[in-house]
């Protein structure tokens, strides 16, 4: 009796389950982050302005737009609708956010990230960086999985 295909199938199912958990966690984080900022767009506009990169009117516009984009992309990950688009947008957003945060630090700006609204206002730079890197890592792992067309589970 050859049990290899059964084991392979079970491993594949388990890996799929794990990746779905990652989808839900990452998607949930962005939905939460977006929802917090939707309720206080003025504070988010101030947080964007503190980076001293964009003019105030553009920062205000982004403060109204970005939280909804985060929520929709988070839903895309969880519901697996427009998944690729959501994944790529979130990866881009986090990458830009990371660069802006590091640039602000290098320029000596003492700012709050604004990632999670007032919930994250007391976090220090290291905590922000660690969370952003972890989220970016998860997004890149999900992207790699999609791009490789599940070759990883086929190799098990």
């Amino acid at each position: 009796m050859n049990d290899a295909p059964t084991i392979k199938h079970q491993t594949s199912n388990f890996l799929n389950f794990v990746w779905r958990i990652v989808d839900v966690i990452v998607g949930g984080i962005f939905i939460y982050a977006g929802a917090i900022k939707v309720f206080d767009p003025v504070q988010f506009a101030i947080d964007i302005d503190n980076y001293k990169i964009l003019p105030w009117p553009i920062g205000v516009g982004l403060a109204f737009y970005l939280p909804w984009l985060e929520i929709l992309c988070g839903l895309a990950l969880i519901l697996r609708r427009l998944y690729l688009g959501g994944l790529s947008i979130l990866t881009g957003l986090v990458a830009v956010f990371l660069v802006a945060t590091i640039a602000a630090k290098v320029r000596g700006l003492d700012i709050t990230c604004g990632c999670f609204g007032h919930a994250s206002q007391n976090w220090n730079f290291s905590a922000h960086l660690a969370l952003d890197l972890a989220i970016l890592g998860a997004l890149l792992a999900l992207s790699f999985r999609v791009m490789s067309g599940n070759r990883l589970q086929d190799a098990v």
Partner: protein, 143 residues
């Protein structure tokens, strides 16, 4: 195939997000200051500030050399470079019934907003305002 699907999906999400964002911006239209980070209630024109007369303390948030060149008559210098040094002089002149008007060089400069914010937060002062248009506007009104 994957690439075109990715771009298409991303564009759909980008476009969809505009709808609730736009609706929310309309709802908040009067509640947010679109031109400047200082709320409208904390901005004051030259005419308004002048009308307060003796009850006004003018604060010049520009660098020392610009203050030395010219400033609003009776203004006190208070900039971020020499904050701890200049703050005592300002506090000595301040009293609760007075209105503080902070200005810097123009509409686009941030210094007056930063100084006003610090006076609110660190010195716990109320009645602190930012001069709309700054020193440039004062000069225009003077002519």
């Amino acid at each position: 195939m994957v690439k075109s699907s990715l771009v298409r999906q991303a564009l759909i999400l980008v476009a969809l997000a505009f709808v609730p964002g736009f609706v929310q911006a309309i709802f908040f239209w009067d509640k947010v200051s679109w031109r400047s980070p200082v709320p409208a209630s904390e901005m004051v024109t030259v005419t308004q500030a002048r009308a307060w007369g003796e009850n006004t303390i003018w604060v010049d948030a520009r660098p020392d050399n610009e203050f030395a060149r010219d400033h609003v008559p009776g203004a006190l210098p208070l900039n971020e470079d020499r904050w701890s040094e200049l703050l005592p002089q300002f506090l000595a002149a301040w009293s609760p019934e007075k209105k503080v008007v902070v200005y810097c060089s123009s509409e686009g400069c941030n210094a007056s907003r930063e100084v006003a914010h610090r006076l609110h937060k660190e010195a716990q002062l109320a009645n602190v305002f930012v001069l709309e248009g700054g020193w440039e506007e004062w000069l225009k009104e003077k002519r």
